[in-house]
Amino acid sequence: MQRLIVVGNGMAGVACVEQILNHAPKFGITIFGDETHTNYNRILLSCVLAGEKSLDEITLHPVEWYQANQITLRLGVRVVDVDAERKAVIADDGTVTGFDKLLLATGSSPLIPRITGADREGVFTFRNIEDARGLLERSRRGAKAVVIGGGLLGLEAARGLQVQGCDVTVVHLMDTLMERQLDAIGGAYLTRKMESLGIRVLLGRSTSAILGNGHVEGVEFNDGEQIPADFVVIAAGIRPNVGLARRAGLTVNRGIVVNDHMETSNPDIFAVGECVEHQGTCYGLIAPLLEQGKVLAATITGNRGPVYRGTVEASRLKIMGVDVFSAGDFREAPAGQEVRTETVRYEDSSVGIYKKLVLAGSRLKGVILVGDTAESHRYMEWVRTGADLSKQRQRLLFPEPAEDAGLDVAQMPSSETICGCHGVTKEQIIHAIHARNVNTLAQLKECTRASTGCGSCTNLCEQLLRAVAPRFEEDSKTTLCACFPFSYERLREILLSQKLRSVQEVLNVYGNRKGCEVCKPAVSYLLDMIWCGGHEEDRSARFINDRVHANIQKDGTFSVVPRIRGGVTSPGELRRIADVAERYNVPMLKITGSQRIDLLGVNKADLPKIWADLGMPSGQAYTKGVRMVKTCVGSDFCRFGVQDSTSAGIELERRLENLYTPHKVKMGAVGCPRNCAEATVKDIGLVGQEGSWQVVVGGAAGKKVRRADLLITVVTTEEALQAALLFFQYYRENANYLERTYDFVERVGIEKVRKDTVYAVSTEKEKLLDRLKRSKALARDAWLEREAPVHPTQFVQIEPMENILT
């Protein structure tokens, strides 16, 4: 078997290997990669920095993939020399490895402009996982970050750092941001948009020095102006890695020169990716590199035939809420020139939309879209195919009015590329749907890779699935409200990786800055849960019940339900309750359906005094939080009781009280299966058996009646409590806001719930319990705010300084 060595374990190299595996003959493949991570999606590093994805989520090929394909993987090993004559590569670990064919996929390196001080501690580039890690570690709230370079990469880095809480300035040499992709007007729109997000943009500044004593303290421009900086990111372009190719004696210009069959000047050495130069062009986007890889795979396996003829580049900015797309050549040729161009333009500065199409004859040459990129696929297709547009001239800038939702995709020709990153066409997707029985987006991703690159074609893929798949199923997602452009689940994922601590910050960064009665309480909950209680509490984001810790009633008065753990009270408590009821003329004193006592019809202003006089903690009857554990008399008194349900219930209530949950959590503990305290229709129930406890979850007897599912059967009370706690925290972290356990358990499935809680490996269980413990440590009885209100006028009616004559 022939030996193939691949240098570079990056996106283009591994994608090409994937293609090679589809061809015969087979090679014995060795891949050298000087990064320590297996092949990952470099594109998504921007999303990692912006906290939208975790590092784990961007892996493209895990170790198992290499093993399954018998590829020898040499991670963390750098190839330092190529001996073209002896056909061997020499690595920095001293090994010499012979090859029959060599594939150079060495990518490129960040370009560092000549700036004094560029080697100071605190100067970063943004190319690989290590860079992203370093930046994430460095970005603290309020840290001053300066990004040098206002291209795609620089802007994405800037936004990521800002989301991490940094105070960010982008410094750009040119007068236009992304000048390679945008004209001056488009650039101005983009600048305004970035500034409105809170990122400072300095244009036309040439950086001459990075200041500081050892570590970074500021940046100086060549006109002498200085700005402070705690750290600097250089994103000033890339330079193809051609060192090895030079040593191997290949023809090299800016990149390694290849022909249309992807051959270099040496018949046994090949190259693909950013390190390559084809027809004078070095590409820096993934789509062309994947096309190159397909051609190369044919050539290298002796199936020489397919040719690569260059690619029209299309760029898209990956910043949520900042839509920028550019493709082709948008330069306008003035009249009198050989190729005359015409420009079709639309702009509306009040909504930040700018569109420009440049046509030569009746063909589209280039396009710029800022603020609205919905039609980008159509334009890209026109540029790519050079379609004759004379019939469409009237409505070039506007979509055909679509009568049905499937029309957009129905109008696309089958050969149209839907996923630009992986070059997946409409035809291929339809084929996959039928041949591989695809019904969900997740399955489609798995079998075609479509929408796993930058993700911008997700909508189209979904539309196509909806139109074609026999049993289309939407991946669960419902937007929370109009204030945020994504689902609650997505929002939770985002916030989990963020350093945002207050509702208003979240609204400013990801929402419409206003918020509403739906999202404000939901985000309040999320922050409380994620920060284990260490968030910045914003009472204006809470429903009135959670501002004053009482339940508002139809006449604007409130009800007060003190905590009576397990329904067990005492003469002293009852006496105090009775006294309070008399003292404050409480209109109704009532035993509730949850084994507690309710004082109804109380004025807001009396709440703090009543709480003090009662001397009992809040029963949280007004909030999405831990309500109660209903108990029966159990083995202490009941002749059938086989477990001490009263003590178990009281203990469970103690361990969970004062915590907040996605919706209310009501629990029960019963001493035998007769179930007198209705534990089997509670969110969490402990059901005593002879010698064991059944822990049940997801029960309901409200709007809906549902028998709880059995989570686990355990022997000791402590084990039962642990199981209940595991489920409780799992529900807190994974349920949608306002989703009761009866819906949550049904949605997730009890098997999965068990797998993730009671059957999880002990380290995972400990993590869940540890987070619960941290939340609990910060949780306090809300009624203590009687002594330290969050705001001095929290409970009072404002007395006017002067009143009117009546």
């Binding site: 204030c483 206003k514 918020g515 009665e517 404000k520 309480p521 984001a541 501002r547 006028t793």
Partner: protein, 118 residues
């Protein structure tokens, strides 16, 4: 005491937390005073639906959401936000003088629903 047609001193600005409302009784009327961050607004404190206390509602931009059944009103014009709730609430001019929020009851207005109908 001040005549009803003049500015009435209500309270120090710091008594009104950001994006929250507080009730104030002025003669026979109860108003809800809100702190919107860049200014203060005053409206009558009674939801036209079933009398809910608007001061206890969640503020969403320029709107307030009644805590009882979720009707929404524009705090500047007093107009209902949903088409299903035809009634308006009265709004009153406010100003800040020497760190004190003042309200002018006589300058209050209630736009008629017809005006906003289309």
């Amino acid at each position: 005491m001040t005549p009803a047609n003049e500015w009435i001193k209500i309270t120090k600005v710091e008594n009104l937390p950001l994006r929250e409302g507080r009730p104030v009784k002025l003669g026979g009327v109860e108003i809800a005073l809100f702190n919107l961050g860049d200014r203060f607004v005053a409206v009558e404190n009674q939801c036209p639906h079933q009398g809910g206390p608007l001061c206890d509602g969640i503020v969403s931009g320029l709107h307030v959401v009644c805590p009882l059944h979720g009707w929404k009103f524009d705090l500047e014009s007093g107009a209902p936000v949903q088409a299903s709730s035809p009634n308006c609430i009265a709004t009153f001019p406010t100003r800040v003088n020497d760190g004190v929020v003042q309200v002018n009851l006589a300058g209050g207005s209630r736009i008629e629903p017809e005006e906003t109908a289309d």
